[in-house]
């Protein structure tokens, strides 16, 4: 009985995920494009060694992170995809979006100290919770960090 209720619930929630989650995704993508455009003057790289170190006035680590989850529609599509294999576009767009968000948060922290460059950027990923009874659902944390540099 319990599993029947869970099944009906999941089926009911799939359109909610599709419409509400989809609208949210489009809104988020617009906001990402806008904010990334505004910060495009920053030099961001993943090189370990800062060139021309003598002109550096200030350096500090900056971090950005975000925790995201899939909606019912995405997890449904993902679990279907698991049957046939291939590229998981729905999960992929979610992860990419979250990573961009984490990177942006890091950059926003960097401009707070007046940095023009962020060096040695690393990305982290961790699965923070497994959701019971939901195939293909994920709840993950994405992390971006690097060293912000202010030149003289």
């Amino acid at each position: 009985m319990d599993s029947l209720i869970a099944l009906i619930w999941q089926i009911l929630m799939i359109p909610v995920g599709f419409f509400v989650g989809g609208a949210q995704e489009r809104r988020h993508l617009r906001s990402l494009d806008q904010r990334e455009g505004a910060l495009s003057y920053l030099t961001v790289n993943n090189l370990k060694r800062v060139t021309d170190p003598n002109s550096v006035r200030q350096s500090a680590m900056v971090v950005g992170q975000v925790v995201i989850a899939t909606d019912y529609y995405k997890s449904f599509v993902t679990s279907l995809r698991n049957l046939v294999g291939g590229e998981m576009k729905s999960a992929q767009s979610l992860l990419l979006r979250a990573r961009r968000e984490a990177r942006l948060r890091m950059l926003e922290e960097a401009i707070k100290i007046g940095a023009q460059e962020v060096w040695n950027v690393r990305f982290g990923f961790s699965n923070i919770a497994q959701m019971r009874g939901r195939q293909g659902a994920m709840q993950v944390e994405l992390l971006a960090y690097g060293t912000a540099v202010v030149r003289q």
Binding site: Q24, H28, W119
Partner: protein
């Protein structure tokens, strides 16, 4: 105290290596946040409550790492790395580690961390 994730502090010379310093914390999400998150789960997207929780926890882990470095008399922590792992029952461990070093006495480059 300089905290950077590059191999050296730009503009400064490392004079002494003091060894690895680390900080960790394990946080469990509380019930209120869990309910809010599970509601949010219906439509997907960002779980702000968890983001805040983990940001707070990471700061804590970093602070512990910095405290350890201060105890060693370090001027900076270089090559800092983070890891997160989920431990049993919806708790997450945040771990920060780096190398504590002493620097030469050049005052043209200022640290930004307290």
């Amino acid at each position: 105290m300089f905290v950077v994730n590059t191999e050296m502090v730009p503009g400064r010379q490392i004079t002494e290596m003091l060894g690895l310093v680390q900080g960790n914390t394990i946080r469990a999400k509380h019930v209120g946040r869990d309910i809010a998150a599970s509601l949010k789960n219906l439509v997907g997207g960002e779980l702000k409550g968890y983001t805040e929780l983990l940001t707070e926890a990471r700061r804590e882990a970093l602070d512990r790492m910095i405290a350890q470095a201060e105890q060693l008399g370090a001027d900076a922590v270089v090559n800092v790395r983070f890891t997160t792992s989920s431990v049993a029952g919806g708790a997450a461990e945040l771990y920060a580690y780096g190398t504590a070093v002493r620097l030469d006495h050049d005052t043209t480059t200022e640290p930004t961390h307290g």
